[in-house]
Symmetry: C2
Subunit: 311 residues, 2 copies
């Protein structure tokens, strides 16, 4: 299996509102920043380190600063996390200076893929101000090996979930009635893991999360319209990550940061091993299934990788 396309530019969004809220609670008194409900928050990621399912992930080394210390140290991350995401493939771009209107945005989406945005939380905490995550993320991104096309996903389009009372209506450049009516996708997303010991003992993967693409606060079309409102040119082969998709349920959390409450509440594996973050030999398996009454479900293929030591 190979990457389905050579990725030009890779952008990662942050449209999983439950994830953003859960992470925000670990960081500040008001979890969501004032811009969150107005802007599909996104930032640029690294295209060169995107790898297809199955390629092992080398545990990254990086600067970290331990609590109550002044000087950072350089060491392999102790807080290696996964992030459950969808990837949106851009199938047709726009000229520099020419925004894509929200009404046309869906025609620029070639299809979807599964995406694991591996994250080193200790590196991230120390480096990310003021310009955002960098080495905490760009060491590896895993995607599933094929594109489930927009055409194939037609039967699985569903209305965008209504916003809670009091949330602002999207600004006109992000609002389209058709997109609101059909811009979300009924896709179940699952994260599971095995440890090396579990595999040695022939155990099945342990499910960590059962999430749902309907938990996105912004649609894929809104991501495209926002990305280009300033004239930024998308190109065929660009990849847009959704950001971590968590549901509102404790069983639907898309990262270990959330599942273990920032590393405070370990999970227990069937072997009796405990985990807060990932150890060498752990394998993460992300799967996705589009479901709709009267249609055969569509799978997304495998998005899996094993953590290997940095040395």
């Amino acid at each position: 299996m190979h990457l389905p396309a050579r990725v030009g530019d890779y952008t990662d969004f942050y449209v999983g509102i439950h994830h953003a809220t859960n992470i925000g609670k670990l960081l500040r008194p008001t979890p969501l920043l004032p811009n969150y409900k107005w802007i599909p928050i996104g930032y640029h990621g690294r295209a060169s380190s995107i790898r297809v399912s199955g390629v092992p992930v080398v545990r990254p080394v990086g600067q970290q600063r331990l609590p109550d210390t002044v000087e950072p140290l350089v060491a392999p991350t102790d807080r290696l996390d996964l992030e459950l995401e969808l990837g949106v493939w851009v199938g047709g771009g726009n000229a520099l200076g020419s925004p894509i209107p929200i009404s046309d945005a869906h025609t620029h989406i070639a299809g979807l893929t599964l995406l694991n945005d591996w994250s080193a939380r200790d590196v991230q905490a120390w480096e990310y101000q003021p310009l955002g995550p960098f080495l905490a993320k760009n060491f590896h991104t895993t995607i599933s090996p094929w594109i489930v096309t927009a055409e194939a996903l037609e039967p699985f389009r569903v209305p965008q979930a209504p916003r809670p009372d009091g949330d602002p209506r999207p600004l006109p450049y992000l609002w389209d009635a058709n997109d609101q009516a059909r811009g979300a996708f009924a896709i179940e997303l699952e994260v599971a893991m095995t440890s090396a010991a579990m595999r040695d003992q022939g155990m099945e993967p342990l499910r960590l999360s059962l999430s749902d693409a309907r938990a996105m606060y912004w649609t894929a079309a809104q991501m495209v319209a926002h990305h280009t409102v300033n004239g930024c040119n998308l190109m065929a082969g660009d990849l847009l990550g959704t950001g971590t998709i968590s549901t509102a349920c404790p069983s639907g959390l898309g990262s270990l940061m959330e599942i273990t409450a920032g590393g405070m509440e370990p999970i227990t594996l069937p072997t009796g091993e405990q985990r807060t973050f990932l150890l060498d030999g752990d394998e993460i398996l992300i799967s996705g299934t589009a479901r709709a009454e009267g249609f055969a479900p569509i799978g997304f293929g495998s998005c899996r990788a094993t953590i290997v030591s940095h040395a």
Copy 2:
């Protein structure tokens, strides 16, 4: 003239310490964050919108929130700025998972170029938390049309400026005696502008800044070593921006944000026109000259572009 290479990934650093300090003063009581003197701070930028000198810059539209308001508006930026930078071309990459040691980092640098990281300050202020600048930057980046090769720059290598007393020594993965002895470049950098009225009247460009590449707190080799310490793979054709290079002098500031004190102190053009940020028809010209006793100076070619209306 064309781009000298197809840019794979584009990363922008923030190694101009005077710029970081000047911007920090506008934002917070302690201008430099605690990580600044430990980490060559960087983030990913947009490769697709990099254009060669001469291509007009379309004024971007974006979300902005005016002071003392709750709801953002969507409008062409009123605070369009330039950023004086050097671009570092990567000439040879590394395999994913294999960091480039600081001692080898200079061999991965193909050469340098001039770079203008156009910035919409009002968009930036509203969007950049928590994941960094995005639409405020990715609408256009202008570079000069050729690469001044590392070989050609050999005579212009100079010692990295000693750090002020009390600053930490770079961590071992960022410290190399040869890099400290020869890792900086004696390159004068100039920013000048004309308005449409100035050009109509045949006036010469007005110099806005005379800066110097020696004002970088981290060397280009340190940028390369840091970028890859986590195993991130650089590729031939990647471009690394230095971030805005300002000197410690009021005459050496690399952005209008600094020159006009955040828009509070307008500059006056020879026509009597005033500017805080750029208006349509303004042209920004960046030039660079490597100088060393006993060697012919080397120019970097032109890095210029004119602002045009978004409509």
